[in-house]
């Protein structure tokens, strides 16, 4: 174990905001995730869920798109920020940490981008 001497006397507003985001998203994703799980695995199954089902049954209603957008963004931000904190705990070399966070942000943007494109890009009324 090493020690860095006196701690820097510098406030970090970002970390305080990130902590509040974790608490808020943590509370929100409990109902979001469990309702999602129930719909996908209890009331339906892998045999009935396909692209057509999603478009016709779910995304025909704007409400479900908003629900899925909330799930995507809150669960995603919660998960990625959690991963960032884990990296901060275990990766002690600053350059390596920065590289990993940049890689993580790129992955995050791809995941969020694809999800958002699917949510917004597909037409609201059933196409089939």
């Amino acid at each position: 174990m090493t020690s860095t001497g006196s701690l820097p006397h510098k406030g970090n507003r970002f970390e305080a905001s990130a902590w509040r985001l974790m608490r808020l998203s943590g509370i929100l994703i409990v109902p979001l995730v469990f309702i999602h799980l129930a719909i996908m695995h209890l009331f339906n199954s892998v045999y009935t869920i396909d692209y057509q089902w999603v478009i016709e049954k779910r995304w025909a209603l704007l409400g479900w798109r908003v629900y899925d957008a909330f799930l995507l963004w809150f669960a995603g931000l919660h998960g990625f920020n959690g991963l960032r904190n884990v990296l901060k705990d275990y990766v002690h070399r600053q350059a390596v940490y920065r590289g990993m966070v940049i890689a993580m942000i790129i992955v995050m943007l791809i995941v969020f981008g694809l999800g958002t494109v699917a949510l917004i890009g597909t037409p609201l009324s059933p196409v089939f």
Binding site: S3, L7, A18
Partner: protein
């Protein structure tokens, strides 16, 4: 009772790496403290055993050890709380996350360095009134829990965030900051909050609750840490 006492030992002048030394103790009383067993070993079986102790009554906080996998004060835990029946094993290790000097003695300096970083002393540059600085019972109660800390390091060295990252300021230092941040007579709360909001400050806390379980003074450590987090805007 018969106790098989396993002690994690390491003498850097002799040993290549730490090892388990075992001592079979006979006629141990259920109300003996683990500290009594260790002192018996040191006094009668092997005088080279290194350990810290001072008051022996759970006040000075110098004999914190990892006993059967939990951070406890050796002077507060009784054999009957660890072993049921006529025989059993008790395992004693140095606390984790701090460098071992010898056997059960660790280097506490990194811990105290973090303690000093939060300015754990009363600060008020305003001229002192003629009598004392008055405080209502309610104002005093606001920080009562954090006054109970004895700096034994049981909380900080039970914290997985601290194990992974020794530069994390740790729960004990946050509790010491809490003691003054919520003291109505102190005027340096903002400075302490700024220190805690730094890179290796309070945000490395993951609300794991090990600190609360480890505290021999039953301070609700995790709750007090959350109170300080809420103060950081």
């Amino acid at each position: 009772m018969d106790i098989n006492l396993r002690i994690r030992r390491f003498n850097p002048e002799v040993d290549q790496k730490p090892y388990w030394a075992e001592y079979d103790l006979k006629e141990v009383q259920p109300v003996d403290r683990v500290l009594d067993l260790l002192e018996y070993v040191k006094g009668y079986l092997d005088g080279t055993l290194g350990l810290r102790r001072s008051c022996g009554h759970g006040i000075c906080g110098s004999d914190t050890m990892r006993i059967n996998g939990r951070n406890l004060l050796a002077c507060k835990v009784l054999v009957k709380d660890l072993v049921r029946g006529d025989r059993g094993t008790i395992q004693v290790e140095p606390i984790l996350g701090l460098p071992v000097i010898k056997d059960l003695i660790v280097d506490m300096e990194p811990f105290f360095e973090h303690y000093r970083a939060v300015m754990p002393y009363f600060i008020n540059d305003e001229p002192a009134p003629e009598r004392e600085r008055l405080q209502s019972p309610a104002q005093r109660a606001r920080f009562d829990e954090s006054t109970k800390c004895i700096l034994c390091a049981a909380c900080t060295t039970s914290c997985p965030s601290f194990w992974a990252n020794g530069t994390y300021i740790g729960p004990a230092a946050i509790i010491q900051a809490h003691r003054f941040i919520f003291d109505s007579r102190d005027t340096a709360g903002d400075r302490r909050l700024a220190i805690l909001a730094s890179e290796q400050g309070i945000w490395r806390c993951r609300t794991i609750f090990n600190c609360t379980l480890a505290c021999p003074r039953e301070i609700p450590v995790t709750q007090l840490i959350a109170e300080v987090k809420k103060e950081i805007k």
